[in-house]
């Protein structure tokens, strides 16, 4: 058996080492810093000691490639310009099960937002809902378009924001090309980075969808790119940035929060629908855990879907930070439920979803304990219990802008989307 230390071995080794030598390492709880390469160092308050030199050598040997030379493996408070940014980092996590506590500061290039806390604005915001699918092609954008129309029929002012920047789509579904706004989300982000996201830009970022023309409501749409965009990739390649505004770092999540706040102040919608991109990505993380009131997680009953969700859910469960702030706002949606064998499919899908939650974020509970986050498999109010969207071949070529689309297809829409429309509206608006 090889002694090679692989990425996934390093943190447990470092944790074990720290537990073993806890007292020798200082008065304050040590912080394991895992850097962008997965290399681990220890941040220690207090002064270096001779014993530390011995321990450092031992740890360096134990961690192989995933650390630094012995003389660089322990980091001391006095070596830092701003040690508080380490000790008080909002990303500092207590490693579960460690007592006395050991902390981890996991430095990542992306995906840090899955564990960060929800962003509260200075003002209350209108209800927001995010539609997400861990894998694409599950009917998310179609569902969003139909839901927007349904809400408009109820007399609502709906704001739709396309956050699927890598694969924009909802804009084309809701707006004819000629009516696209001049600017999109990526424009706001690159202009804002140089302090130029002005009122004029914001006004030119929103257009009205003709889908709601025969309703009491309105659908206003913010697209990923403007209608006359010539250089999308140049902008897209620059948007996922934290910016440095006069010495203050504004991270991407807060920039997105600002965008939403400004749009909401301008449009004053009754509800905001966020079309998230598929997959495990920062912008999805932000749209699900940090900015929204309700996240609809689309799924089809395939092993790859549940495995992908498992990566995400077990990450939440493992670190268990801020999970309680959004776990009640998750709802599985079974998209594209087949016509044949429908009830069997739904039953299997429901069971898969239940197992996902049970094995990860549902808590173990005694029967009489009502406060734990746990639900029965058949509880229709449970986050795992799928809302259903039925597949019908008429939705294969989805063209809601065609004349009388909603009149001609009204029956199928209700049959296929009725459960989703009713449940989603109830969950977000309480109506």
């Amino acid at each position: 058996m090889s002694n090679t230390v692989r990425f996934q071995d390093a943190l447990p080794i470092a944790q074990q080492f720290t537990q073993t030598h806890y007292e020798a390492l200082g008065q304050q709880p040590p912080i394991l810093i895992r850097d962008l390469y997965g290399k681990i160092r220890l941040f220690l308050c207090g002064e270096p000691t001779e014993q530390h030199q011995v321990l450092a050598t031992n740890l360096a040997n134990a961690l192989g490639r995933f650390t630094y030379p012995a003389e660089a493996i322990f980091l001391y408070e006095a070596d830092f310009f701003n040690s508080q940014s380490i000790t008080e980092s909002p990303d500092k996590i207590r490693i579960p099960g460690t007592n006395p506590p050991i902390f981890l500061l996991d430095k990542q290039i992306t995906s840090q937002d899955w564990l960060r806390q929800p962003i509260k604005g200075s003002e209350p915001h209108p209800p927001r809902a995010t539609l997400f699918g861990i894998k694409g092609g599950v009917g998310r954008s179609s569902a969003l378009a139909i839901w927007a129309w349904h809400l408009a029929k109820l007399g609502k002012k709906v704001l739709v924001v396309d956050l699927d920047l890598e694969s924009p789509g909802i804009g084309q579904i809701l707006l004819p090309q000629a009516q696209s706004p001049d600017f999109g989300v990526v424009d706001w982000l690159v202009e804002e980075a140089v302090g130029q996201a002005d009122r004029e830009l914001l006004l030119d970022m929103v257009a009205t969808s003709p889908l709601a023309k025969n309703t009491e409501g309105v659908i206003r749409v913010v697209t990923a790119a403007g209608g006359k965009e010539q250089d999308y990739i140049a902008k897209l390649s620059r948007v996922y940035m934290d910016i440095n505004q006069e010495g203050k770092i504004v991270d991407f999540a807060h920039r997105l929060a600002q965008l939403l706040q400004q749009l909401e102040a301008q449009e004053k919608p009754d509800i905001v629908l966020l079309d998230s991109r598929a997959g495990i990505h920062d912008i999805a993380a932000i749209a699900i855990t940090r900015l929204t009131d309700m996240a609809f997680l689309f799924a089809v009953n395939t092993p790859q879907t549940w495995q992908a969700y498992r990566y995400l859910f077990s990450h939440w469960q493992k670190w268990n930070v801020n999970l309680a702030t959004f776990r009640n706002n998750l709802k599985i949606v079974a998209g594209m439920v087949p016509e044949l064998g429908r009830e069997d499919y739904l039953s299997r899908c429901g069971e898969s979803a239940y197992n996902l939650f049970l094995e990860t974020i549902y808590e173990e509970t005694a029967a009489e304990d009502l406060d734990t986050f746990s639900f029965d498999i058949d509880d229709s109010l449970a986050p795992h219990f799928p809302v259903r969207i039925l597949w019908n071949r008429i939705f294969q070529e989805f063209d809601p802008q065609s004349d009388d689309y909603f009149i001609n297809n009204g029956d199928q829409l209700i049959a296929c989307y009725g459960n989703f429309l009713q449940t989603a509206t109830q969950l977000v608006l309480g109506e």
């Binding site: 962008l36 290399k39 940014s85």
Partner: protein, 144 residues
Amino acid sequence: MNVDFKNAASRHYRDGELLYQNSRWANADQLYGLSAECVFKRIIVGLDPSGADPETGDFKNKSPHRKHFDKNSQKDLWNYFSVTFSGRLAHHALPNTNGFSDWDIFQRYVHECHFDQQRVDSHRMATIALQNLLQELFTDGVIQ
């Protein structure tokens, strides 16, 4: 004497703070500029270790890294760093604008009346931002 950009950046900053707290604007301002210059050079050494002489710690002769804050943008350190290294900072970013476009080592000769707190504050904030950036790059493992 060997070059140690990190220590130099730190001592210039700390002494700048002492002067700042005593409203000694002109010399505080000078030290913040020197600190910032050293921060940039420490980062550059981290990103391009082969550019430094291992014996002296300084950049090699004729190294393009031998720049300072200069009104001439072709010679200017901030501009050079921004053009050469911006894409190598992982997900970190330089401040949006050159915080030392109005700073020059020549100012060590001028009358102190040219310096007020507002001027110094802008250089102080810019230096702090750069020091924080250096720390982040080090903690992230982007530089050693």
